[in-house]
């Protein structure tokens, strides 16, 4: 009996002795209740979860000093010591929002991101590849985004009133000097690099980071892919040529290598698309790509090699005469190496090393022909004679950079480093009469940069940076401040601002100069509103850009030489981007619109005029849909640009001034393109291969677009500069062995 009594006492001691209730309320810094927070006593099971009003309640048999912890997704942990005695305890806690990448504001001003890694990217890699009018050319796809002009007669991205030379392209952090195939007169060429090489693309239309420079308008940053998913072999055949390659992933999945070869020949295509020029040498290109990638613990080393050799030749009517023709021939050899190493070093440090080396050789020939395509040797008129020439261009380029990044806690970070850029361009010119002149221009550019991301609050971020450069060619220093600020509203909409100064060495094609030159520069001011929610993106940007110290030039017959930095200009505009994957079932589309008001006085412009590479209104609609039962993806795009100005600028000998003889506005530019991707192996069980059939047609309705006009030397004739062909048609079949991509395709449409 006594034993039983004692037992009861002991047991009740154990179970009821000091069951203490702890209750309270969890709120955040805005005094709003927090639901779902976990409240616990350290190293015990005791605790509770807060309800929708933030209240919680639990009992515990723990005694004495205990550690009281509140944890909740998106908030910093809260810890306090409490003393538990006999009576119940009321314990309230205020918890603070944590700066996580998901919740925090991201500085997006001026930039568009296409990528598969970053969850806030506006576009994906596939979007770039499947934009209908782009024919898998990266920069053509970028041209459907706001800020970029529809310039088809010259290479490059013409951004916010800038020339194509004001946009620089970087692969894995290092500058690419010959991103495009060597340009042909009156015709933009494609980028050399296959879009499938890249997992991320960042297009900045202004206000970009201090890590990059020498681009007054824009940078395009490409990040190459990491290790492939598996070992595979690819084959592609189209009526433009064929390509084949292998990609081998090591068994331990820590390294890989790949090699591919492609051959392009436009013989067949020229019969179908009927180019404007008369080809006597069909364009053909041999290309070799190689790569290896090695995982280094928490880092990756990547190497990429590109080799190409190409030839082409065509004739066009001569503008200065009736009946005569000009022949243009081009032989190009290009080699590009890129080696990069990204590594996390621990303690919040990250390192990025990169180097690239490239050489480019062009042999360009110009020849004046009679109506029977026979060479005309000498006419005694220099206007005609100088149309016959040989030009050997040899370029050697090296670029190296390092960046160290230190995490300053939360999302704040500091980055700094150096960049070195070497260019050595040799132009060997031989005139019709055998007279030779060589021009060699070397530049050593050294840059230092430092930049910091500072999160003043999770909703308020500041990026401040500075870049200093020294040019050996100009023997000058510059220092460029960059600043951006972003604030996020409660509804996840955000407003950002950017300011920055951007310097650029005068373009080599106008050098050497008889006079001392300095850097050209542009100052950007950008204001942006962006909201991403529910598979919809809205962004609007307004900008003002001021150009100073642009080069002015002298010279004639299209051969201009820089003489001073007295040029200037400005650009202002509004841009809107809307992307919607949700409203229309199974249709994903984006719309972009750019308004641009720009004037500049540079090169031989007699005055500040709207440059011929700028249209006031530019708009694109890009649409894609997938018809599951048909295994067919359909992509369409429509692009519009209002007419661009054209000028006949000539040198008036008597006044010794450049003057405009004739000017006007081209008609509006319109393009409607469509492409189909048919994936026959979708849905097959365990297919050994995956294939895609691609058909794309640009300018389906056959709009008669005119990019600009060329003028004869005497100003009496004008010839429209037309697209290389009215329509472009592409038909190709690609097959990949080894990797089963069916699952990917299925998953993508769950």
């Amino acid at each position: 009996m006594r034993i039983a009594l004692i037992l009861i006492i002991i047991l009740s001691f154990q179970y009821s002795w000091g069951q203490v209730t702890i209750s309270g309320r969890i709120t955040n810094e805005d005094k709003k209740p927090v639901k779902g927070a976990s409240i616990s006593l350290k190293d015990t099971y005791d605790g509770a979860t807060s309800d929708s009003l933030g209240y919680y309640k639990f009992t515990t048999s723990e005694k004495g000093k205990q550690v009281f912890i509140v944890s909740c997704l998106g908030y910093e942990n809260y810890t306090d010591t409490i003393l538990i005695q006999e009576q119940s305890i009321e314990k309230n806690a205020t918890i603070h929002r944590e700066a996580t990448r998901m919740e925090a504001v991201v500085i997006t001003v001026g930039t568009f991101e296409a990528g598969d890694k970053n969850k806030s990217a506006e576009l994906s890699t596939m979007d770039v590849v499947t934009t209908a009018n782009a024919n898998a050319d990266i920069t053509s796809a970028i041209k459907t985004l706001p800020g970029s002009q529809q310039v088809g007669e010259k290479d490059g991205l013409f951004v916010r009133g800038g020339t194509g030379k004001e946009t620089k392209i970087f692969i894995d952090g290092t500058l690419v000097n010959n991103f495009y195939y060597t340009s042909e007169p009156g015709q933009a060429t494609r980028g050399r690099f296959n879009p499938f090489l890249f997992t991320g693309t960042i297009f900045s239309s202004g206000g970009y980071s201090a890590l990059y420079g020498q681009a007054m308008s824009s940078v395009l940053l490409l990040e190459s892919i990491d290790l492939p998913e598996g070992t595979s072999a690819d084959l592609g055949i189209s009526y433009l040529g064929f390509n084949g390659g292998i990609q081998k992933l090591a068994k331990n999945k820590k390294s890989s290598w790949g090699l591919s070869y492609g051959y392009t020949n436009l013989q067949l295509a020229n019969k179908v698309i009927k180019p404007k020029s008369d080809y006597f040498k069909t364009p053909n290109i041999h290309e070799l790509n190689g790569n290896f990638r090695i995982k280094t613990g928490r880092g990756m080393i990547k190497y990429y090699l590109y080799l190409s050799s190409s030839k082409l030749g065509f004739r066009n009517p001569d503008i200065d005469s009736a009946g005569l023709k000009n022949a243009f021939s081009l032989t190009n050899f290009n080699m590009y190496h890129n080696l990069s190493w990204k590594q996390k070093l621990g303690k919040g440090w990250k390192m990025q090393l990169g180097g690239s080396y490239s050489t480019n050789r062009d042999k360009i020939g110009g020849q004046l022909l009679d109506e029977h395509n026979q060479d005309i040797v000498a006419t005694g008129n220099p206007l005609y004679d100088y149309k016959t020439f040989h030009l050997n261009n040899k370029g050697y380029y090296a670029n190296g950079r390092w960046v160290l990044e230190k995490n300053l806690g939360g999302l704040s970070a500091l980055r700094f480093g150096n960049e070195y850029n070497y260019t050595n361009d040799l132009m060997e010119y031989t005139a019709y009469d055998g007279q030779k002149s060589d021009i060699r221009i070397k530049e050593n550019l050294l840059a230092s940069y430092a930049e910091s991301d500072i999160y003043l609050m999770p909703k308020l971020a500041l990026r401040a940076g500075v870049r200093a450069e020294h040019s050996q060619l100009l023997s000058l220093w510059n220092a460029a401040p960059r600043l951006s600020l972003a604030y996020q509203f409660k509804d996840r909409g955000q407003v950002s601002m950017a300011y920055g100064k951007f310097y650029q060495t005068p373009d080599m094609q106008y050098l050497p100069s008889p006079d001392k030159l300095h850097f050209e520069n542009a100052t950007h001011y950008i204001l942006q509103y962006q909201k991403i929610a529910n598979k919809r993106i809205l962004r609007a940007e307004a900008f003002y850009k001021k150009y100073e110290d642009l080069i002015k030039s002298t010279g004639n017959y299209g051969q201009l030489t820089a003489i001073n930095n007295k040029g200037f200009g400005d650009a202002k505009g509004i841009e809107i981007f809307w992307r919607d994957k949700k409203s229309i079932n199974n249709i994903d589309y984006w719309v972009s619109y750019s308004y641009l008001d720009t004037k500049r006085n540079f090169l031989n412009y007699p005055d500040a005029i709207q440059p011929p590479f700028s249209a006031r209104h530019t708009a694109s609609v890009v649409l894609r849909t997938f018809i599951l039962p048909a295994k067919l993806q359909i992509n369409a795009s429509y692009t519009f640009a209002s007419g661009r100005p054209y000028y006949d600028i000539y040198y008036n000998e008597s006044d010794q001034l450049y003057k405009i003889r004739r000017q006007g506005l081209t008609k509006n530019y319109n393009d409607f393109s469509i492409s189909f991707n048919y994936l026959p192996s979708l849905g097959k069980k365990n297919p050994k291969s995956f294939s895609v059939l691609v058909l794309s047609v640009t300018n389906v309705p056959g709009f008669k677009n005119i990019y600009s006009y060329d003028f004869s030397a005497d100003g009496k004739r004008m010839i429209p500069v037309l697209p290389s062909s009215k329509r472009f048609l592409y038909l190709g079949y690609f097959i990949s062995f080894g990797i089963d991509r069916t699952q990917e395709a299925i998953d993508s449409h769950l």
Binding site: L7, I10, D116, K119, S124, N534, E744, D747, H749, L750
Partner: protein
Amino acid sequence: MKQIFLGCIALLTVTMAFSQSGRYITAMKKNIAMLDSVMIKNNFEEIANNFTRIGDAEKDKWLPYYYAAYVMALKATVEKDASKKDALADQATASLKKSEEILKQDNSEIEVIKSMIATAHMTVDPQSRYMMYGQIISESLKKAETLDSTNPRPVLIQAQNLFYTPEAFGGGKDAAKPLFDKAADLFAKFKPASDIAPQWGKDDLDYFMNMYRGS
């Protein structure tokens, strides 16, 4: 009296010792039982928090964190607001990592949760994310099956994935049937390693099997 005293000491020791492992088992069982109604009650956080507290206190048990990861992965899957899915899935991953660190070896059940987490990430934006997550989903399910061919859960998840795959891609109700049958077979034979070892999925299977019976 001395005997009584000794007896009491012994009893105390026993009850305390029992309460050490007993209270773990009891607490786990209680929370595992709550899993059945989690979809209805929508109390994912509460249950995940309960498991996390047990895990934090025990430090050497992998199951509490495993269950916490499972519940968060479920929440990430059923969450309708796509913008919240990633954070929930990341939270599940954090728990699963702790579980793996304690277990220190590959485990079939953990791979199953990995596939669920990847599915949640992918459904945020399938078109652009399949490259990355589609691969993880199929690899972790394959690995789960290899590690334990008697585990019905990887088969069940595969069956469900296939069920919701459009027919044009080889999915659909009919295509998924053999896998559900296989999962049913495995469930019939399956014996969990302990009362608190993973054994979920039978209800889900019954739900799908009923749909086949219905037609």
